[in-house]
């Protein structure tokens, strides 16, 4: 225990002062008496002091003790208590959850402590309320954002949201699928798309990788012009059609996004602001190549048909006019008859050719959707079971067909057929079957009557195709046949040979692309949006840019061996983008590569890539351009990346692609953050940082693990004052591990 020096002063001070005061008084008295009288006084006092000095001393001592007690008490009440109050208050200021200030000391000080406690309590309540409000607000924002993301995912259109600089803030899976189709050289073709469009579309990437910059500029100018003329922002939508590198026709609709406070009032105040509160724009993209082609084909066919018909009619009429002449020679007569016969034959052939072509197919007259055949059958079976109570069996067929249908009206049509059949024969068992025709699908509906039931009259079967469907709401009086014809299909009653039962056969169109959708499943909540990107930022990747602002491409390669110069090749590249400190798990690239050489057995247990897995896959010359686009404008990040960079750099001459991106290595960054550690393997770092990693030793699995590690290292680097790219690179080069140059 330390003794408070001020306490000693407070306690001993009065006694000492009293002694000094008395001594001083005596000295002054002696000095004023003069030498003789002073000597007489001293002589008179000396014996008294010798015998009764103790009495005086005891008297002083009593006073000293009393003064010490009083001093101590006053000190505690008026010095210690306020000091304690001060300390406790300071703690309370720093930490709202600290205990209350204890009331000590004088009444005023106690009252002060009490009021301070009241204030603290007030602040705690306020904070709690605030926290609750913030929590509510952020929860509602998160909810809205999730709803928006879900909505976007479900949308039938390709939607991309960009900021004014043309950086992508949000896109949906349709947009991604569209970009996959737009890639000029589909690497690998049937062997599997390399990046599913990820080399073009991605958060923070420029939209100009997808759409012609001139088209965007034009559309933006149009929108700005309309806004400047005072057109309502909701109506200020521009539409342009542009072609892509691969020759696709792209219809682009651009709608402005305006900041919330830009609406209405201040429009007149700031005519100079050419952006008129624009903060970005929404793009709706449609690939109209096929539609356009179909239209064009149909128009041409129609025109040709008209003209051929006219020519044919003209020829025949002219010949018939000649045949009408009364004085025609028999030889001429035969000639003109031959002309007429010939023209009729040619007309017949032309009509047959048109019927065989797909020009007459009814397309896009009704909003049809792609649907997997087995899904349609499941929906029909479920609906009929519920509504009509009819048992229905599914016969084996081709359930994996993709159909282009309006499932709602089709199911209603089946319901009508099932109910008519039940009314015509007692308790039949229905069956349904989907099979592939050459260019279409057969959807069959049949029934097995009870053994004692009479067969249904053929006229009844024909009639039920034309009966109106019940309760389709606004659809009104459509018949089953109408529904089928709306699909550009046909229906008839198929009768097998012999005794087999007749059944309904419906011809339905197939979807244009059968493999759409499942290949694009990118997890439940893909990172397709990042609104933080609304804040504008410059393009270049420079040393003075903060790490937090940069986008990164974290990648990993699997190789046939360790020596690129000795002929080892990359057999797999996996990469994932990191933007705004988030690992974009939906924005990845995962590609097997045919090394055009053998894969040594020794490596297979590590990377699990067998030679037959890479056969027929794209070569490195095809994949590197895709990867280069994927990594454009970003910093390359890898674990022990020098190894991967050696492989990439060796291909520069062959592919003409320069991988001159800035490079960061998680191994080096880890050694900066934890210089005392010996182990900087990916697993060791992940364990230290508390990250669970899975799926190691596939290229993408490793890239994802590295990305997770990298994202956790960034804040730790910031604590050491490493916040810009340049600082990170300098620190890396000083690291004890930085022996290898890329």
């Amino acid at each position: 225990m330390t003794i408070d020096r001020r306490l000693i002063v407070a306690a001993a001070g009065p006694a000492v002062a009293l002694a000094a005061w008395v001594a001083g008084g005596a000295a002054v008295l002696l000095a004023t008496l003069g030498p003789n009288r002073a000597a007489a006084l001293r002589a008179a006092w000396a014996p008294v002091l010798a015998t009764h000095g103790m009495v005086l001393f005891a008297w002083w001592l009593v006073a000293a003790v009393l003064a010490a007690w009083l001093g101590h008490r006053l000190y505690r009440r008026h010095v210690v208590a306020p000091a304690m109050l001060l300390d406790a208050t300071r703690i309370l200021v720093e930490n709202p959850d600290a205990p209350d200030v204890p009331p000590h000391g004088a009444p005023m000080v106690r009252a002060l402590a009490h009021e301070i406690n009241n204030l603290a309590e007030h602040r705690r309540t306020l904070n709690a309320n605030m926290a609750q409000l913030v929590d509510q607000a952020s929860r509602s924002v998160a909810e809205q954002r999730d709803q928006l993301a879900a909505l976007m995912t479900e949308l039938d259109h390709a939607v991309v949201v960009c900021n004014l600089e043309g950086r992508i803030l949000l896109y949906n899976s349709r947009a991604r699928a569209l970009c996959a189709r737009l890639s000029p050289a589909p690497v690998g073709g049937a062997a599997g798309a390399t990046s599913g469009g990820a080399d073009r579309i991605g958060l923070g990437r420029p939209i100009t990788g997808v759409v012609d910059p001139a088209a965007i500029t034009h559309a933006l100018d149009t929108v700005r012009g309309r806004l400047a003329r005072g057109v309502d922002p909701s109506a200020a939508v521009a539409q342009v059609v542009t072609t892509t590198e691969a020759g696709h026709l792209l219809q682009v609709r651009l709608a402005p996004v305006r900041s919330a406070d830009a609406g209405g009032g201040d429009r007149a105040d700031s005519p100079a602001d050419e952006n008129a509160g624009l903060t970005g724009y929404v793009l709706l993209l449609d690939d109209i190549t096929v539609d356009q082609h179909v239209h064009l084909q149909r128009d041409q066919a129609l025109l040709q048909m008209t003209e051929n018909g006219r020519a044919c009619a003209a020829t025949m009429q002219a010949a018939l006019d000649m045949l009408d002449l009364p004085d025609l020679e028999p030889a001429d007569r035969d000639r003109f008859l031959a002309v007429v016969r010939d023209e009729v034959t040619r007309m017949r052939d032309r009509l047959a050719a048109i019927a065989d072509s797909s020009v007459l197919d009814v397309a896009a007259r009704w909003p049809l959707q792609d649907m997997l055949g087995s899904d349609l059958i499941a929906a029909i079976v479920q609906h009929l079971g519920r509504v009509t109570g009819t048992p229905i069996t599914t016969l084996p067929g081709d359930g994996d067909l993709w159909l282009r249908i309006d499932s709602f009206s089709l199911i209603k049509a089946f319901e009508t057929l099932a109910q008519r059949l039940r009314s015509l024969t007692h308790d039949p068992v229905l069956w349904i079957r989907l099979s592939r025709n050459v260019t279409r699908a057969h959807l069959d509906l049949g029934w097995t009557p009870r053994s004692d039931a009479a067969p249904i009259a053929p006229q009844a079967l024909t009639a039920m195709q034309l009966d109106p469907i019940q309760s389709t709401g606004a659809g009104g009086q459509l018949s089953v046949r109408d529904v089928v014809e709306r699909h550009g299909g046909e229906m008839w009653i198929e009768r097998g040979r012999g005794e087999s039962q007749p059944f309904f056969r419906i011809l339905l169109p197939l979807a244009a692309v059968e493999v759409d959708g499942p290949a694009l499943a990118t997890g439940s909540r893909p990172e397709f949006y990042d609104f933080d990107l609304f804040a504008a930022r410059p393009d270049s990747v420079g040393d003075d840019r903060p790490l937090a602002d940069l986008s990164f491409t974290v990648f990993d390669c699997e190789t046939t061996g360790l020596d690129p110069a000795g002929g080892d090749e990359i057999i797999q590249i996996g990469a994932v983008r990191v933007v705004n400190g988030r690992v974009l798990r939906g924005d990845t690239m995962d590609q097997l590569i045919d090394p055009c050489r053998s894969i040594p057995e020794a490596g297979i247990p590590i990377h699990h890539i067998h030679p037959e897995m890479v056969r027929g896959k794209p070569t490195i010359a095809q994949v590197l351009p895709v990867f280069h686009r994927f990594a454009a404008d970003s910093v390359l990040v890898g674990h022990n990346v020098a190894f991967d960079m050696r492989f990439l750099r060796l291909k520069e001459a062959a592919t003409g692609l320069r991988f001159d991106h800035p490079v960061l290595d998680t191994l080096l960054l880890s050694s900066i953050v934890h210089p005392a550690e010996d182990h900087h393997g990916l697993e060791a770092i992940a364990e230290r940082l508390g990250i669970a990693i899975g799926g190691r030793h596939t290229a993408l699995g490793d890239a994802l693990a590295t990305a997770d590690v990298f994202v956790r290292l960034l804040p730790l680097l910031a604590k050491q004052g490493i916040v810009t790219l340049g600082q990170a690179r300098t620190a890396s080069s000083r690291s004890q591990f930085a022996r290898l140059k890329y």
Partner: protein, 121 residues
């Protein structure tokens, strides 16, 4: 001496009738099977009138018409476009190219003969 009429059409079936009809009306008839041949015969044989089909291999009827009108020496050649191209835009192009008449197939042979007779009168 009878007047010369050129029939330029790649469809033999209609040429048979047109040729018969024109001969019967008293004209000397020449026949060309495509656009190049037609232009060549117009320059060489100098027919008074040409029945010109719109769609022919080589040069189309429209192009033949333009070529004839570009040549002052052939200024008095009458041109009747006789074609299955019947859209407004086609008629406009034919007349714009310098056709004296534009007849859309099918047509009445009697009207055609009357028209040719009037034009050559």
């Amino acid at each position: 001496m009878s007047q010369r009429v050129l029939i330029a059409d790649d469809e033999p079936n209609i040429v048979v009738s047109l040729e018969f009809m024109m001969k019967r009306a008293g004209y000397e008839v020449l026949v060309a099977r495509d656009g190049l041949q037609a232009l060549d015969m117009i320059r060489r044989e100098r027919p008074r009138l040409v029945l010109l089909d719109g769609m022919m291999p080589g040069l189309s009827g429209f192009e033949v018409c333009e070529a004839v009108r570009a040549d002052d020496a052939l200024a008095d050649t009458k041109i009747v476009m006789l074609t299955a191209k019947g859209r407004d835009t086609d008629v406009a192009r034919g007349v714009g190219a310098g056709a004296d008449a534009y007849v859309v197939k099918p047509f009445s042979t009697r009207d055609l003969v009357d028209m040719v007779r009037d034009m050559l009168a």
